[in-house]
């Protein structure tokens, strides 16, 4: 096991609004090791994007407030850093990719120049000619054909998928240790999405970059994640390796997410499992477990006390009272269990050894 590149400890982010203080992130803990991919999954308003923006110190203050917590990157805490200090880290050591590639690129500037700008800014010793060479290499590396000709083109001359490749090239220009990707494939078609994900995995294999990948698509998570953090109402409610989250989910919210996604082998006569209701108001977060109101397995204690993170294994945690030794035994819902068993069976037939997962 390598060292933790990033450790987030008890991070709390609030926003001041006219209606009151929104507690967008309410005590989040996670770590990312070098070369691994952490996926943060959650629905809109769960705090996943606020968390990722907070890591880059991109939360405008005001209205944002870093209420509490630490963001330790390579051993240094980013929270108290000044804007000047952060400029050295942003782009250089931590780079970010956003959902919409068009707004991330300057429409009036040739893409070659946009990539060169980053290279020159981050390394004062590089000559212009070398920067150009490097930029062309990067365009080639992200899988764009004819890099020399493409170097001279403007963003509007590229398709959506190609633009996202350029954004990735810019992010990689300074060889960051950590890449944060906030829904980088959400705006793309499935076939293009598959290509971009392949590309990101390839980059990780060759450069050992750590990736934080934010998404709401569980299929994408299964494809790219080493570890998964499921967020709900500003908190991480389940945290574990991809296999643990998908084959042995423990939190009722994770069950809900898995159940509400149709599956290609799904029985068409069955209704999808839904999570009733909608997420809570984070100006007045509910007392107890924030998920209680939507949780069909909620117990009395869920409305009174916020559950701690219960340990399922050394790498797997879930924030639900159902894991308390005194709680009744609630099995995984039938539909979700059936599906997981189906996957495990299919993988067994394909001759893949599953070891202990799924038990």
């Amino acid at each position: 096991m390598s060292e933790n590149l990033l450790e987030v400890k008890n991070l709390k982010i609030n926003f001041k609004t006219y209606a009151g203080i929104v507690q967008a992130v309410r005590g989040v803990n996670f770590e990312v090791k070098q070369g691994e991919t952490l996926c943060i999954v959650g629905e809109s308003g769960s705090g996943k994007s606020v968390t990722s923006n907070a890591l880059m110190k991109l939360i405008p203050q005001p209205p944002g407030i870093y209420e509490e917590g630490q963001i330790l990157f390579d051993g240094r805490d980013l929270v108290p850093m000044t804007e000047k200090e952060m400029t050295k880290i942003r782009g250089n050591e931590i780079a970010m990719i956003f959902q919409d590639p068009m707004t991330a690129l300057n429409p009036t500037m040739r893409i070659g120049k946009q990539i060169m700008e980053v290279i020159l800014k981050h390394n004062k010793n590089v000559s212009k000619a070398d920067a150009k060479k490097r930029a062309i290499e990067l365009i080639d590396q992200v899988g764009i054909p004819f890099p020399e000709q493409r170097f001279k083109q403007y963003p509007h001359e590229f398709s959506g998928g190609m633009r996202q490749r350029i954004v990735i090239a810019i992010a990689l220009a300074a060889e960051p240790k950590l890449l944060i990707a906030d829904e980088p494939t959400t705006a793309l078609d499935v076939t293009i999405q598959a290509q971009i994900i392949e590309l990101m995995k390839e980059i990780q294999r060759t450069s050992n970059t750590a990736i934080i990948f934010i998404t709401h698509d569980l299929g994408v998570v299964a494809n790219i994640a080493d570890r998964v953090a499921v967020m709900y109402a500003g908190q991480i409610v389940e945290y574990g390796t991809a296999n643990e989250i998908f084959y042995n989910p423990k939190h009722p919210y994770t069950w809900g997410l898995l159940g509400s996604m149709p599956d290609l082998d799904n029985d068409a006569d069955q209704l999808l499992r839904t999570i009733p209701g909608s997420p809570p108001d984070l100006i007045h977060p509910p007392k107890g477990d924030a998920f209680a109101a939507r949780n069909e397995y909620a117990m009395q204690i869920d409305y009174e006390q916020d559950p701690p993170m219960f340990e399922v294994s050394a790498t797997h945690f879930a924030k639900t009272w159902l894991l308390h030794p005194d709680a009744p035994n609630v099995p995984v819902p039938e539909a979700v269990r059936k599906r997981i068993e189906g996957y495990i069976q299919k993988n067994k037939e394909a001759g893949i050894d599953l070891g202990k997962v799924g038990e």
Binding site: S44, I197, D217, V220, N243
Partner: protein
């Protein structure tokens, strides 16, 4: 087999030199859900909009309940047509008038069609519709911004149902919604279909959701339907290489198989003028030249 409710023959919709829809034909049968899938720009939304007369079509014929919908129509005929066919839109934020209450939005249709005797009956109708889509009667007096995305889409559905149509075009009705809310809306659409015998044209790019909701599926690419068949056939026995490529790109919530499976890239093959729709087995159509289809089918 049920009666045909809609027949589309050689539909073309060109915008200047852009052939958004380029000669497609398909039928929709009463009570079924036909899924129309494809990537952005393939012409699937344009097809839906042409069917509901949002565009004047370039060429072809669309017959709905036995009548040509693009022919000259009297006001009365148009009114009748509008009543029978309704649409649900993708963006629940943009498709509701922010200055109208949910009740006004839902009642607009039956105000125009004079479908109630008095105010009391109108109110009652709004209430029943709201309840049938899982909202409360009290919601009638609220404005769009007071609802969440999922609730707004429910209002959009209630509006579509208000005139008691037989055919609904749902254009990406869930893609703007969160996963857990998507399932709520899809379940609602299926339940309403059962209760009211509705027919759906379900346009989407999310293939797993389309497979789940559709009886039959048409796959579009660059203005053409490249493959059409039952949902089971399309997913289990795809013939066209584009369909295979699309299916191979769907990510599944299964990390181990995701780690091992390979995507099939699609190399676009030029199709000549002799390309046409071939029925490879009953009800399963593939678009290509004779030689292409033969080759794909034997593979």
């Amino acid at each position: 087999m049920a009666e045909k409710i809609l027949e589309v023959k050689n539909l073309k919709q060109h915008f200047g030199s852009i052939k958004a829809v380029d000669g497609i034909s398909f039928d929709v049968y009463e009570g079924e859900t036909l899924g129309l899938v494809g990537e952005s720009g393939c012409g699937k939304s344009t097809t839906g909009r042409s069917i509901i007369r949002l565009y004047d079509i370039t060429d072809g014929e669309i017959t709905f309940q036995g009548k040509n919908i693009h022919g000259k129509k009297s006001k009365k005929e148009l009114k009748q047509f509008n009543k029978e066919m309704q649409m649900i839109f993708q963006d629940p934020y943009a498709s509701l008038n922010p200055r109208m209450t949910a009740g006004e939005i839902i009642a607009e249709g039956f105000d125009i069609h004079g479908m109630y005797k008095n105010k009391k009956e109108r109110k009652e109708k709004i209430g029943t519709l709201l309840e049938s889509v899982g909202l409360n009667r009290e919601h009638a007096n609220r404005y769009a911004h007071e609802f969440s995305g999922g609730q707004r889409q429910r209002i959009g559905i209630a509006r579509a149902l208000s005139l008691d149509p037989s055919f609904i075009i749902a254009d990406e009705p869930i893609s703007a919604l969160d996963v857990s809310i998507q399932a709520q809306v899809v379940n609602l659409l299926r339940q309403l279909q059962k209760e009211r015998g509705l027919t759906y044209l379900f346009i989407a790019h999310d293939l797993s959701m389309v497979k789940y909701i559709s009886d039959r599926i048409a796959v579009m690419r660059r203005g053409k339907i490249v493959e059409l068949g039952t949902a089971e056939d399309i997913y289990n026995y795809p013939v066209h290489p584009y369909t295979k490529s699309l299916l191979s790109a769907i990510p599944l919530p299964d990390p181990i198989s995701e780690a091992t499976r390979t995507r099939i890239p699609y190399e676009h093959e030029e199709v000549g003028d002799d390309a046409k729709s071939h029925e490879v087995f009953p009800g399963h159509f593939v678009f290509g030249t004779d030689a292409q289809v033969k080759e794909w089918y034997t593979h």
